[in-house]
Subunit: 281 residues, 2 copies
Amino acid sequence: MSDPKDAEAISQAIAARFGETLPVDPDTQGLETLLRMASRRVHRRYLDKPVEPDLLRLLLACALSSPSKSDLQQGDVVIVADPARRKAIFELIPSMPWMAEAPVFLVFCGDGQRLPRISEMRGKPFPNDHLDAFFNAVVDGAIVMASFIAAAEAVGLGCCPISVVRDNCDVLRETLSLPKRVVPIAGLTVGWPATPGRLSARLSIDARVHVDRYDTENLAAQLDEYDRRRNAAEPGLKPREPARWGEAPYYGWSEDKARQYANAQRTDFGAFVRSQGFKLD
Amino acid sequence: MSDPKDAEAISQAIAARFGETLPVDPDTQGLETLLRMASRRVHRRYLDKPVEPDLLRLLLACALSSPSKSDLQQGDVVIVADPARRKAIFELIPSMPWMAEAPVFLVFCGDGQRLPRISEMRGKPFPNDHLDAFFNAVVDGAIVMASFIAAAEAVGLGCCPISVVRDNCDVLRETLSLPKRVVPIAGLTVGWPATPGRLSARLSIDARVHVDRYDTENLAAQLDEYDRRRNAAEPGLKPREPARWGEAPYYGWSEDKARQYANAQRTDFGAFVRSQGFKLD
């Protein structure tokens, strides 16, 4: 299944994404999958074409086949199909009107309610009401979401994760009847891409992969390299809140993220999670 | 790229996994990827054959190309290569001696330190020291891990996530020099599979996919169906702690998980996460 063209295209995608030349052996199995992953892009514009229910179910089955912590299977999915429910969620996110055009909208959740209910039904104590239980459910849900995206992109669909749905967790809870000990992780729009999308540059591999020791010493140089490489590939990043922050010595990703998180965001999420019955001790 | 054989094999895998007959259109794009996902299995036994460094880096590049919350890129990876460090981690998990034979051992982390450091370096306040910040870093790390597994399996490697490394978080922190605001999510063994592995049955799709309303009403019937289907496929589940719990009316997955979580597990994880400098309010 050797394909020199796929190997070369992967090298090019990695160079564009990470600014690194990495040799790819054309005899590697599964290069088609790696090429799709290496060149993946977010999709927010969709064709006016439905996603067939059988296909959606197939993708969900693939996602639910992913690894699960201790085989607990705590990642669950809500398909938001009802127009009134979709509207209730979307109208709280006016900055993303394109969401309403997505043929499929899912909400991925961590399910912390099934396990303690099983303990109760089987007459066993459940002395595990703590941060680890919450953590495991969240990680499982995130794995299901990532696996769903991988499956969807394999068939040619495009996706966009929407974590901003957690800005209005109480509405999400009410709209989707989320029970106690279920926490929403993110929404996901899914559809047939209307545009090719754009490959986004990322921090270098060395900034995020550590060998034996978690190394944070070179952050300043890593940010500088990334800011400049990213601006070269995608010029025209618009400064955030210029009236508040004035001129930046250099406006790149790092300045942009520092400005974005200079505003408090989702400070009520902990209170919501606790009100859902999770203990975080 | 139509392949009726792949479509049929996917249907069979989904039937074995979920107990459901799902039609698969043989003209669907990417069926090879979906077949691999639908029939995926955990691998704990590996050939005595290395994973070439360039291949590992390629898989990491694919994993780091996955979606990231607000483009924050908070999922980081530690390659544990040093034999002394591997030994320090593995010897605390005597129940899994096979880990020592894995050619590659990774630890996936949520990185909550980069963003506040960027804020400081760019002279901005960071009023986001709360549960949501921790949650975002953890979800990003889990997405990177799931994406790494998808890439590794595409080239024919097998993996096993090891969340039990979090039983000894203080050792992990010391051994890998994990800085403040970095939390380990799970270890991962990676190698060339020595055995075909076994497809594990899962809860039905309907138990985990909800339409418009999160539905938990049918749990008893869902558990019964799953316990019996799973025991039929993999007979011989050995009862846990028989001296403590005696005979079960029916010993299946649900009884097994109820017994497993009747013991307190990782109750100190919250204290560890706080000692790492995360605020969970």
